[in-house]
Amino acid sequence: MKKLLEIHDLYINFKTLWGVAKVLNGVSFDIKEGEIFGLVGETGCGKSVTALSILRLLPPNAEISGKILFKGKNLLEKSEEDMRKIRGKEISIIFQDPMTSLNPLFKVRDQMLDIIELHEGLSREEAEKHAEKLLKAVGLSDPERILNSYPHELSGGMRQRIMIAMALSSNPFLLIADEPTTALDVTIQKQILELILDLRNRYNFSVLLITHDLGVVAEVCDRVGVMYAGNIVEIAPTEELFENPLHPYTQGLLSVVPDPRTKKPLKPLKGSVPSLLNPPSGCRFHPRCIYAKDICKRAKPELHEHSPGHFVACHLYGGGNCD
C-alpha cells in the first residue's frame, strides 16, 4: 500500500516561562492509504501535539524541525494559504470534546452548511442535501431535526457523529481523531468506533486514531504506534503488538490494563511520567525501566525494524545508534 503520510524525525519544543519543554523528541511514523493507525500513550506524551503539528495548528511558541510528508509533499514547507486549503479538506480533525467543538450559539444547520459551502463550493440547497446525506451516513436517522437543533439539545454521541459528518464532508484523505470517544459512554463509544470502521471501509480514507485506551486500539486499529514522553517507542501491526510487545514500556502498559474478562494480577510500572522541561537523558524511559543498562542513560535508542513491520526503539534490541 502507498504511504499517505510520513513523519520523519519530528522535533517540537515549546518555549515557556519555565524553560524549554522538549515535547516531541524525534518522532517518525507513517500511515498508509486506507489504514487506521493508532497512536497510544499516557497523558502529556505528545499525541495531540503530533496531531496539531500535521495540520500546522501549533501555537506560536512552538519550534518545529523535521519533515511531515503528505502525499509526498512536506507540509512544513507549505505556505499558510496552501495549508488552509488542506485543512478540513484533505486532512480533517475531530476532537475529544464534541461540546466545545460546536458553537453553542448556532444551529447545527448553520455550522454544517458553512463548512460544506466553504470546502465544496456548493449552493445552499446543494449543501443542505449533502449535509442530510452525511448525517444519514453517520447513523443519524432524522437529519431534518438534527439540522434544526442547537448543540445543547443533542446528546454527546449525536454531537460526535455530527463532528464526524462535518469532518468527512469533503472526502478527506486523512481523518485525525484525537480521543474521539473519551468523553462518551462505552455503549456510545462502541457505536462511534464501529461507525469510523464502517466509514473507512466504505470510503477508504486513512485514520490517525489517538487514544490512551489500549482496548480501543485493539478494537479498531490496523497498526499502532506507542508513545512515551515525546518518543515513539514501538510500532507494529495491532495483533503483533499485543502478542509480542518488545519495548519494556509497551510490556508494562499491557500488564497494567485491567481485562474485564478475567481477574489477572496487575504489575504496575514504578514511578510516573517525567517532566518534559527536564526529560531524562538517553532513553527517556530509563528511570522506570527494569532492564535499564548503562547505555540507556547515555544514548537515545533509535527506532529500527526488529522484524518485518515491527519497529522498536530500545537498546535491548540493538540496532540504532548503539555503540
Binding site: F14, T16, L17, W18, N61
Partner: protein, 284 residues
C-alpha cells in the same frame, strides 16, 4: 503557586511594574512624609500668608495655596490621608461584605435569602449617593467619611464572596471535609474563604483607587476630611475657585489622585494575571 513564578509574571507586564512602583513609592512617601516634605508645619495647616498663591518655583515646586502653604508638602502629607482612608474603607467593607457573603453562599436557604435581600436594598442606590446620604447623616469628618464609604461599599463584596462561596462549596475537598465531620465554621474559614479570595483581592486592589477617589469626592463636597488636614480632595475643592488664575493649586493634588487611582487599577490587572490560572497559561 511558587514565589518565583509570581514574581516572574508580575515583572513580565511592564504596566504592572509601573503600577507597583507607584504604589510602593506612595507608601514610602506617606511613611516618610515628615522627612520628605520641605515644610511639614505648613503641610499640617500652618498658614504662611506672606507667600499666598505663589506659582511653582524652586522653593515651592508645586506653588502655594491661598494661605501661602507649600502645595508640594501638602500633597506629600495628603498621601497619608488618602492611603489611610482608602485602605480603611476597603478593609472595613471587605470585613463586612466577605463575612456576610461567605455565610450567605455557604449556608444558602433562608440565611442567604435574608442577607441578599438586605444587600439588594443597599445595591439599589448609586454608591456615591448612598455614601453622601450616610455622610450627611453621620456628620463631617474623616472617620465618618470612612464609615459612610464602607457602608455603601460592602454589598459589592457580599455579592462577589457569595458567588465564590457557592462555587467553592461544591468542590470535592469541601465535601470531603464534611464527610469527615469537620464543622461548618471551620470548613468556611479553612477551605471556602482562602479559595474564594482571589477574585476578591483583585477587586479590592482596584477598589482602593476608587475608594480614594470617592473619599476625595466627599472631601470636595465638604463632607469628608475637614480643613486644615492635608487631603487631596479637599485641596482640589478649595483650589477649584482659584483654577483660572492659579492653575497649580487644584492641578497638583488632582494629578496625585489620578495617578494613584490609575496605579491601583494597573496593579489590580497584574494581580488578576498572577491569580487567574487561565491567564497564566496564556502567558506561556
Amino acid at each position: 503557586m511558587r514565589k518565583e513564578e509570581t514574581i516572574k509574571i508580575l515583572l513580565r507586564n511592564k504596566l504592572s511594574i509601573v503600577g507597583l512602583s507607584i504604589i510602593v513609592a506612595l507608601i514610602i512617601i506617606a511613611i516618610l512624609a515628615s522627612v520628605l516634605a520641605p515644610y511639614p508645619d505648613q503641610a499640617l495647616g500652618e498658614p504662611n500668608l506672606k507667600e499666598r498663591l505663589q506659582p511653582p518655583s524652586r522653593i515651592h515646586p508645586f506653588g502655594t495655596d491661598h494661605l501661602g502653604r507649600d502645595i508640594l508638602s501638602r500633597v506629600i502629607y495628603g498621601a497619608r490621608t488618602s492611603l489611610v482612608v482608602g485602605f480603611s474603607v476597603v478593609l472595613l467593607a471587605l470585613l463586612i461584605g466577605v463575612s456576610l457573603g461567605l455565610i450567605a453562599g455557604y449556608f444558602g436557604g433562608k440565611v442567604d435569602l435574608i442577607i441578599m435581600r438586605i444587600t439588594d436594598i443597599f445595591l439599589a442606590f448609586p454608591p456615591l449617593l448612598l455614601a453622601l446620604l450616610i455622610a450627611t447623616t453621620l456628620g463631617r469628618g474623616m472617620l465618618n467619611a470612612i464609615l459612610a464609604l464602607a457602608i455603601s461599599w460592602w454589598p459589592w463584596y457580599t455579592r462577589l464572596a457569595r458567588g465564590m462561596a457557592i462555587s467553592v462549596k461544591e468542590r470535592p475537598y469541601v465535601e470531603a471535609s464534611r464527610a469527615m465531620g469537620i464543622s461548618d465554621w471551620k470548613i468556611m474559614i479553612r477551605h471556602v474563604l482562602p479559595n474564594s479570595l482571589s477574585p476578591i483581592i483583585v477587586q479590592a486592589t482596584m477598589d482602593m483607587g476608587s475608594a480614594i477617589l470617592e473619599a476625595a469626592a466627599l472631601s470636595f463636597l465638604g463632607l469628608g476630611v475637614q480643613p486644615p488636614t492635608p487631603d487631596w480632595g479637599l485641596m482640589v475643592s478649595e483650589g477649584k475657585n482659584y483654577f483660572l488664575n492659579y492653575w497649580w493649586y487644584p492641578v497638583f493634588p488632582g494629578l496625585a489622585i489620578f495617578i494613584t487611582v490609575m496605579a491601583f487599577n494597573l496593579l489590580g490587572d497584574a494581580v488578576r494575571e498572577v491569580i487567574d490560572p487561565r491567564l497564566r497559561r496564556r502567558l506561556l
